[in-house]
Symmetry: C2
Subunit: 188 residues, 2 copies
Amino acid sequence: MSVRQSLLAILDQGPCYGYQLRAEFDRRTASTWPLNVGQIYNTLERLERDGLVERGEPDVQGHVHWQITDAGSEEVARWLSSPVVRARATRDELAIKLAVAATLPGVDVGVLISTQRAASLSRLEEIRSAPSADFTASVVNDSLLFAAEAELRWLDRLDQRLAEHPDHALQRELSTDRPRRGRPVRAA
Amino acid sequence: MSVRQSLLAILDQGPCYGYQLRAEFDRRTASTWPLNVGQIYNTLERLERDGLVERGEPDVQGHVHWQITDAGSEEVARWLSSPVVRARATRDELAIKLAVAATLPGVDVGVLISTQRAASLSRLEEIRSAPSADFTASVVNDSLLFAAEAELRWLDRLDQRLAEHPDHALQRELSTDRPRRGRPVRAA
DNA sequence: CGACACATGTAACACGTTACATGATTTG
DNA sequence: CAAATCATGTAACGTGTTACATGTGTCG
């Protein structure tokens, strides 16, 4: 959703052609989230379908400029005036994974956590040492930084809590009675 | 990706039928991320397509049990032994939005931030006051908590940095020469 | 000339999400 | 009996992502 909205917001500043939009997005996000060119044209067609942009005639150089419609401008205004509201819970791959993994008998969550911790820490260092050429870059980098720190903090907290509860209540069998292991249904 | 992997991991414990899988996922994630039943059947078919699960014969009660294949088990093992590696940058809707918004002339980023801050804060309080019935629930809740705190911290940091740079370098014009406002291409 | 960036597009696919249809079973 | 829950599925759609084809222009 954010790519779509971002492109629309950029178009709200004035017409652009596809390739230009990519450059704009890259620049404004300090190239933090690389955007495949193909996606631009894709997204533009979808915005057109939804009546938020219009395809202009190719100019002298053959560039196809796109312009925002009134509906599009309203959409941008709405986007900018309303906060990003994380759904009841933003689906976080790591949280889901650990939550599920912790309920799996035969899985050593401790090992899993420490493996993850190493990866997350190395990622954190990578972010910390990223050069912040520019104000935008450093702001965006802060976002990654804070998220990475939170991730590590959570892992450590989890580790600590598991240490306190070696008999952690996570391990639970499946609710209904069903075969336990192997492939009881079809013979191997 | 995480739903798919989670279901596969649950199936690695033994055969399940669709509806049961939803219950398992809900229980193991303390119902934090509600999962539409339809998605279960969807995902199961995709897993079957990829040779990671097999559809079993309906049992006496007519339940269609699914069982994991060897390839599926290997996939689970791989999933559990490797860390979640956030891409060069996990696309974060808020970060993208603020990064882009900050480059838009005519947008008061201060207002945007304070609106967002209010929403994020209220979300944080919601998380803080969430009842943690169970260990899993409280672990998952911690994940949301830490993420929400990081978000707020980032917003405050950004606000502070903008206060230090009232002439923030974010505001930049588009790179190439192009029409500035309005709809120069087609007459309204 | 050859390599490379610019520029536009198409086609397919990934996962996730929802709406809908259908029927069996349970329960107030 | 009626309503709710259990259970299985289908069909369509959303954004994001990638691979590919194609052509122009530029620069060493």
